[in-house]
Point group: C2
Chain length 118, copies 2
DNA sequence: CCAATTGTTCAATAACTTTTGAACTAAGGA
DNA sequence: TCCTTAGTTCAAAAGTTATTGAACAATTGG
């Protein structure tokens, strides 16, 4: 069973901007962008907010079309929908992430991480 | 007398994104971008919202550092702070405006305009 | 000076968003 | 089967943002 996601052409610019205009969600997106290709589970983000609140923010990101969440056992694998976002809004995600990377006042996750091999 | 504006380095990414994540404000910014260099007064935007509501949205844009408002007699001249935004968040404004231009569902102002010389 | 034009402020309300905790579901391992 | 892990759902509370109308201020033209 997979959760509802908008199709690429249903992704709306004002909704994406509004969703990214929240520091917690921006931190999540930033982290997903840095670990692109590696699907994340929610527990990665527990230092940003409570479990319940994370569920809320991750649902917002998914409903806006910014992320994709797939069920995998008891976990959820979360990925950035970069392909769809780049197609719909060329350059937007890159400039947002670059801007977020340059901002020291933004909350962040896993910025000083030791790469652990599987 | 000029209204309070943030300095370039006070402009915050999440605040800018949240402010642009409103269709009325996006329409204003889009119009300012198309008429860049030409300072606009508020009456240009009266088909987007009521006078009072416009005052509110224009204040949000100004406080976020997206626009500059200068008093000029009984009018206010509103311009995009493109220089400051481009310095702080390279590429962001361009990709937002390009994305907005490609979206037919967004409210717009003056898209079919006859150029009137002064 | 008077009236019109341009826009602001204020208070109220409506509408949304965020956060919370408790209760829940579903999968997987012992 | 029972327990743990991972995450959702729900309802309530808190907080924030958007919209409105009426009243206000400042400038300009007659």
């Amino acid at each position: 069973m997979s959760l509802p996601h908008p199709t690429a052409d249903q992704i709306s610019l004002p909704i994406v901007l509004a969703v990214l205009g929240d520091p917690t969600r921006l931190a999540i997106v930033r982290y997903l962008a840095r670990k692109e290709g590696v699907p994340m589970n929610c527990s990665k983000f527990l230092d940003l907010a409570s479990k319940t609140n994370l569920s809320y923010h991750l649902a917002k990101l998914r409903e806006a079309g910014v992320t994709r969440s797939e069920a995998a056992g008891t976990s959820r694998l979360i990925t950035l929908r970069r392909d769809d976002l780049d197609k719909r809004f060329p350059g937007l995600l890159d400039s947002v992430i670059a801007a977020a990377d340059g901002d020291k006042d933004l909350p962040a996750v896993g910025t000083s991480e030791i790469e652990v091999s599987a």
